[in-house]
């Protein structure tokens, strides 16, 4: 901050650290205004209260926190959200890993085409893609009709947890693939060749050479997908049919339908804490891998 207030004549005296600080200043300001300030506001909101009619009371009290934390439903929500998000992250990893590995090994025009195909879904909004899944998964949709044609009674594929898992897994796959690819830098094909020459089976080569070398990419992809899964709201809202209780959809209901802003803010702060925990776990995992 003070760097900006200094008169121009002292510009020469700014050392390398000063230059770094100066260059960091714009983004720090953007983050302060665009991220920090809203979070502080949210924190402040969680210490307000509402009257029974929904009217906001401008006080500082821990009443809302006490209610939220003592409600067993909150614990259900947290457990459910974390569990579902972890499961989706795992599925995304399993589904994306082979694609990323193949992409990493392909070259030239083919690689470009495949990359464009991977990135293309990101250019479409999650709402549109979720509606696409509704068309596929509904009781009169593609899969149900195909199963009926084969003489199988189709199970319920959406408006439940199954739908949320399918939809979110597909929607998060591009992020996972890109994160994996960015972490595959250390994977030199010569290592695999060496392993194979030294008599390792392809399976052993994969487990002992490829997986350890790609672990940082996996950690990054998992962190990204977990955070996106637990905070995603549109897809669960459209595909859960109101049967799955998740933190993000509950925050929406509290803020927009029930009008209890302090509760919504408190739940949002809990999500932020979960993000922090995920980040801490990631850092630890990375240290162990690297």
């Amino acid at each position: 901050m003070s760097a900006i207030a200094l008169p121009a004549r002292s510009a020469r005296r700014i050392g390398p650290t000063g230059v770094v600080m100066l260059l960091l200043l714009p983004i720090a300001l953007v983050n302060a205004v665009g991220f920090l300030w809203p979070v502080v506001n949210l924190l402040r909101m969680s210490f307000k209260e509402t009257q029974a009619t929904g009217a906001l009371i401008d006080t500082v009290s821990t009443a809302t926190w006490a209610t939220v934390l003592s409600d067993s439903f909150t614990l259900d929500l947290i457990a459910n959200s974390v569990g579902v998000s972890l499961f989706i992250t795992l599925l995304t990893l399993v589904a994306s890993y082979p694609i990323a590995l193949y992409l990493h090994r392909s070259t030239g025009l083919w690689r470009t085409i495949l990359l464009v195909l991977v990135i293309a879904p990101l250019l479409t909004s999650a709402v549109v893609r979720t509606y696409g899944w509704i068309a596929i998964l509904s009781s009169q949709g593609l899969i149900a009709n195909a199963l009926l044609f084969l003489g199988i009674t189709p199970p319920r594929l959406m408006f439940n947890l199954t739908g949320v898992v399918i939809g979110l897994t597909e929607i998060l796959m591009p992020y996972m693939i890109l994160a994996l690819l960015s972490g595959f830098g250390r994977l030199d094909p010569r290592f695999e060749e060496a392993a194979l020459t030294l008599g390792a089976t392809p399976w052993k080569t994969f487990w002992r050479v490829v997986v350890p070398l790609t672990a940082p990419g996996m950690a990054l992809g998992c962190l990204l997908c977990f955070v996106l899964a637990i905070s995603s709201f549109v897809t669960p809202k459209l595909l859960s049919g109101g049967r799955v209780f998740l933190l993000a959809t509950e925050i929406y209901d509290q803020a927009i339908v029930t009008l209890n802003w302090p509760v919504a803010a408190t739940l949002s702060m809990i999500v932020l804490v979960l993000f922090g925990a995920a980040l801490a776990l990631y850092t630890r995992a990375l240290r162990r891998i690297a």
């Binding site: 009257q51 009619t53 439903f73 009781s139 809202k237 859960s240 209901d253 339908v257 029930t258 009008l259």
Partner: protein, 357 residues
């Protein structure tokens, strides 16, 4: 001759100048007297119909007042806007659900509407004046049972038809915290012998538990009407006004009925925002919106029941509202209900939703 020509030219110029001056004068006069009223109300179908039926005729009758419609998709989001603008309001009038306007009243966001600032208030039905709410009712709506006329040939007689095995996976109800789910709990609570919904709704919850296994979704999107029109669902619960419009636009595919257990009213209030920029023009608009002409036009356009007892509404439109079925309307005190809504929601979450899994 030259003189004459000159004179002619001068005359023509004078006429032109005069006309221009006159036009300019009119324009500046209009600009000087014109005030703007910003109306915050529901987006979508409501905006489209309300603009045609009320806003445009109002502006025609009051050329000096311009009404800007600021669409918002829910009452709660409107309150959010008003809270954010409390120091410097950007809107003058807001149309929102009664329980939300109670919250707004308690936060001192509104100026009380009465006979003094809106004389048409005197002609409103008694139920249109809600104690401890600054605004007054501008539309009445009611819960109806919706059905797809291809899948269901005869109008269902009871709400409990939704528990019928034939409708497995074909029932759509906007579940709690939406007030449509809440309304259904109250109707079924009374039908099953419940006496005071403010104290105990266990009988209504038990009835919902019977319906729950048939539910396709508790969150029909974009609204409950679309899946019934397309046949993706066969029966459901929704609001009458939108159901009637969907009945017309779908060529009768979607039909609505009030079952024997009855229905409840949903109330939209019109509210004057305290210190809005429009000043007295806002009061003129509120008075017009409550007047017989606007009430008639909007009821005939979107089939909300009128709140003005003197609105001369056509029989055809009245038949599509709950006015004929007043004996079937269960009185609900939405303000008192708001206080127990969380507790009812808790039972819904613990008992009704699990029964639908």
């Amino acid at each position: 001759m030259t003189h004459e020509l000159k004179f002619g030219a001068v005359k023509r110029n004078t006429v032109k100048l005069g006309a221009a001056a006159l036009a300019l004068g009119l324009l500046t006069q209009a600009a000087a007297a014109e005030s703007t009223v910003t109306l915050m109300a529901y987006s979508g179908l409501f905006q489209e119909r309300y603009t045609k039926a009320v806003v445009e005729p109002f502006m025609k009758a009051h050329p000096d007042i311009k009404v800007t419609y600021f669409p918002v998709n829910s009452s709660a989001a409107m309150l959010g806007n008003l809270r954010a603008q409390k120091a410097a309001p950007q809107a003058d009038v807001v149309i929102m659900d009664v329980s939300v306007s109670k919250a707004g009243t308690d936060e001192s966001l509104f100026t009380k509407i009465d006979e003094a600032n809106a004389p048409n208030v005197k002609d409103l039905y008694p139920t249109a004046r809600i104690p401890d709410v600054a605004g007054v009712a501008v539309t009445f709506d009611n819960l109806v049972m919706l059905y797809n006329s291809d899948a269901v040939k005869e109008a269902p007689k009871s709400w409990m038809a939704m528990a019928d095995k034939t409708y497995q996976g074909k029932v759509v109800i906007p579940g709690m915290p939406d007030i449509q789910g809440l309304s259904l709990v109250i109707i079924l609570n009374k039908a099953n012998g419940g006496t005071d919904y403010l104290k105990d709704v266990s009988k209504g919850i038990a009835a919902m538990v019977e319906i729950a296994p048939n539910i396709q979704t508790w969150e029909p999107k974009p609204e409950v009407y679309a899946p019934i029109v397309t046949g993706q669902a066969s029966v459901g619960a929704g609001w009458n006004a939108r159901a009637q419009v969907n009945n017309q636009t779908s060529g009768g595919k979607l039909k609505a009925t009030i079952p024997q257990e009855g229905t409840v009213f949903q109330i939209n209030t019109i509210n004057l925002i305290a210190n809005g920029p429009g000043g007295d023009a806002a009061k003129t608009f509120v008075n017009y919106a409550l007047g017989p002409e606007a009430q008639k036009a909007f009821t005939e356009s979107m089939f909300y029941a009128p709140t003005n007892a003197k609105a001369p509404i056509s029989q055809d439109a009245l038949d599509r509202t709950a006015v004929k079925f007043m004996d079937k309307v269960i009185p609900v005190d939405w303000i008192a209900l708001a206080k127990v809504r969380d507790a009812i929601g808790e039972q819904w979450r613990r008992r009704v939703v699990p029964a639908s899994r």
